[in-house]
C-alpha cells in the first residue's frame, strides 16, 4: 500500500475519532438512523437515488438523516448526532460527490450564539484556531456580489460571493432570504422576513448549513408540498410525503438548533487538498 493512501486513511480514521470524542465530551448521543427508507427528504434541488424495496415498493437513500433524527427528537431522546453517509444524485465536482459523509447534529434549547460557539469548536478540530466573522446574506451580496455575467442572485452567489467568503477566517452567513428557509424558522429583521438559517464558509467552501429548526407541523407540511410543486415545475418527480415526520412534529419537536456539516470537505481542508478524494 502506498504511503499516501495509508496516511490518508490514518488521518480520516483519526478525524472520525476526534469528532466522536467531541460529541461525547459535549454530551451528545450518537444515533444511526436508516440510510434507506420509504420516505426521504424532499428538497426542490436535491435528487435522490431510488431503490426497489420489493417488486412494487420504492425506497430512497437519504440525502441527510434529518427526518429520522427529528422523529427521535420528538420522542424526547435529547441532543443527538449522526456521522454517516448520505447520497445525492448527479452531484459531481471538485467539492461534490454523489455519496459523502455528513455530520448532522441537534442541540435542544440552544441559542444561535451558543450553537455557533459549539460548532466553531468542532470546525477548529479541522481548520485550526481560525477567527470568525458573522455577516448577513445581504451584507455578503452587497460586498462581493459584483458579477456582470449574470443577474440571477443564485448564480451571483455561487460565482462571485462564495469564493470570497472565509478568506483568512471562518465566515458565518446569517439571515438568508425567507424563500431559502428550507426547514428553518423565519424571523423579521427591519421589516424583512429572513430565514433563521446560517452557513459556515472557509476558503470559499461551504462547510455547513444550520437551522433554528422549524417545529410547526402545518408550516412544515406546506413547505413539503411547495417543494413538490417546484419539483414538478422543473419536470422532476414529486416525492412521497413522510407522514411520520409530520406526526412527530405534531407530537412536538423541542425547540432546537440543528446543522449538517460536510465531513469530507473538512478533512480535505485539514489535509490541505484542493479537491475531494
Amino acid at each position: 500500500m502506498s504511503l499516501g493512501l495509508k496516511n490518508n486513511l490514518l488521518q480520516r480514521a483519526q478525524a472520525l475519532k476526534e469528532v466522536r470524542a467531541f460529541f461525547e465530551e459535549h454530551d451528545v448521543l450518537e444515533v444511526d438512523t436508516p440510510l434507506l427508507s420509504k420516505y426521504a427528504p424532499i428538497d426542490t434541488h436535491i435528487d435522490l437515488f431510488s431503490v426497489d424495496l420489493s417488486e412494487n415498493e420504492t425506497g430512497y437513500l437519504h440525502s441527510s438523516p434529518e427526518y429520522g433524527m427529528k422523529k427521535l427528537l420528538a420522542e424526547g431522546v435529547g441532543d443527538i448526532y449522526q456521522l454517516g453517509h448520505v447520497f445525492r444524485k448527479g452531484e459531481w465536482g471538485r467539492l461534490h460527490r454523489p455519496e459523502f459523509t455528513m455530520i448532522e447534529w441537534y442541540r435542544l434549547g440552544a441559542t444561535f450564539e451558543s450553537f455557533l460557539e459549539e460548532n466553531l469548536k468542532l470546525l477548529r478540530l479541522f481548520l485550526g484556531n481560525q477567527p470568525h466573522e458573522v455577516l448577513s446574506y445581504r451584507e455578503a451580496m452587497e460586498k462581493y456580489g459584483d458579477y456582470p455575467e449574470s443577474a440571477d442572485p443564485h448564480i451571483i452567489w455561487g460565482c462571485a460571493v462564495e469564493p470570497m467568503l472565509g478568506q483568512g477566517k471562518i465566515s458565518v452567513v446569517i439571515d438568508y432570504p425567507a424563500k431559502e428557509a428550507a426547514l428553518a424558522q423565519t424571523r423579521w429583521v427591519n421589516g424583512v422576513e429572513v430565514a433563521e438559517r446560517f452557513e459556515f464558509y472557509f476558503k470559499g467552501i461551504e462547510l455547513g448549513n444550520g437551522y433554528h429548526e422549524l417545529t410547526d407541523p402545518i408550516e412544515q407540511k406546506r413547505r413539503l408540498f411547495q417543494s413538490n410543486e417546484e419539483r414538478r415545475a422543473l419536470g422532476k418527480k414529486a416525492l412521497p410525503i413522510d407522514s411520520e415526520l409530520i406526526r412527530a412534529l405534531e407530537r412536538g419537536l423541542p425547540n432546537c438548533y440543528g446543522i449538517a456539516l460536510g465531513f469530507d470537505r473538512l478533512l480535505m481542508l485539514k489535509l490541505n487538498r484542493n479537491s475531494l478524494f
Binding site: 434541488h45 452531484e91 443564485h154 455561487g158 452557513e199 448549513n209
Partner: protein, 190 residues
C-alpha cells in the same frame, strides 16, 4: 452538430456558443446552499483567444463546435501563404499568412504542424513545441562578456526568428528552440 449535457463537459472540449467556437478551459460544478446546481465554465474563443465566463443550469445542453484537428507538413512559402500537405492523403492546401500570424518565425519547410479547422476552414496553425533551427546571423562571442554578467546575445535563425542564444554559439550551428516562449533550449549535435 451533436450536443453535450452540462455533466459531460470537460476541459479541452470544443463547443459552439452564440454561433462562435470556444475551447473549454475551465469547468466547475457549483451548487451553493439550497439552490439549483449549475456548471460554471471558462471558454476561450478559438480565434481571438479571448476568455469568457458562462454558467449553465444542470441538464442544459451545449452544441459541440464543428472543429477538426489535423497534422500537415509544410511544403513551402508561396506569396502571402504557406502550402501544407497531409502525409497520408497527400491533400494540399494553402494557409494565408493572416492565420499563421505570430507563428511566422516558426514556419519551416518539411516540419509537421497542428492545424485546427472550424467548419472546414483552417483557423489555427501551431508549431511543434521544440524546433531545431540553424543560426544564420549573430555577433561573435566576445571574451570577457560572461564576467560582466552578459551570457546571451541576439541571433537570427534560418526560419527568420530572432532569439537570444548563449555567447558561445556561433553562426552555422544548429540549436533547439522552445516555440512557446521563443527561448533557446540547447545546442543540437548533428
Amino acid at each position: 452538430m451533436p450536443q453535450v449535457s452540462t455533466n459531460e463537459l470537460k476541459t479541452g472540449m470544443k463547443v459552439e456558443v452564440d454561433g462562435e467556437p470556444y475551447t473549454i478551459v475551465g469547468v466547475e460544478f457549483v451548487k451553493p446552499g439550497k439552490g439549483q446546481a449549475f456548471t460554471r465554465t471558462k471558454l476561450k474563443h478559438l480565434m481571438s483567444k479571448r476568455v469568457v465566463e458562462r454558467t449553465y443550469k444542470s441538464g442544459e445542453k451545449l452544441e459541440l463546435a464543428d472543429v477538426e484537428e489535423s497534422q500537415m507538413r509544410m511544403l513551402y512559402k508561396e506569396g502571402d501563404g504557406i502550402v501544407f500537405m497531409h502525409d497520408t492523403t497527400y491533400e494540399q492546401m494553402t494557409v494565408p499568412m493572416s492565420i499563421i500570424d505570430d507563428n511566422e518565425p516558426y514556419m519551416m519547410d518539411d516540419v509537421v504542424y497542428d492545424l485546427v479547422f472550424y467548419k472546414g476552414e483552417v483557423i489555427d496553425v501551431s508549431p511543434p513545441t521544440f524546433l531545431n533551427m540553424t543560426i544564420v546571423e549573430t555577433a561573435p562571442g566576445v571574451r570577457g562578456d560572461t564576467a560582466s554578467g552578459r551570457v546571451l546575445k541576439p541571433a537570427k535563425t534560418d526560419s527568420g526568428a530572432t532569439i537570444q542564444i548563449p555567447i558561445f554559439i556561433e553562426e552555422g550551428e544548429l540549436v533547439k528552440v522552445d516555440t512557446r516562449t521563443g527561448e533557446y533550449v540547447s545546442r543540437v549535435k548533428e
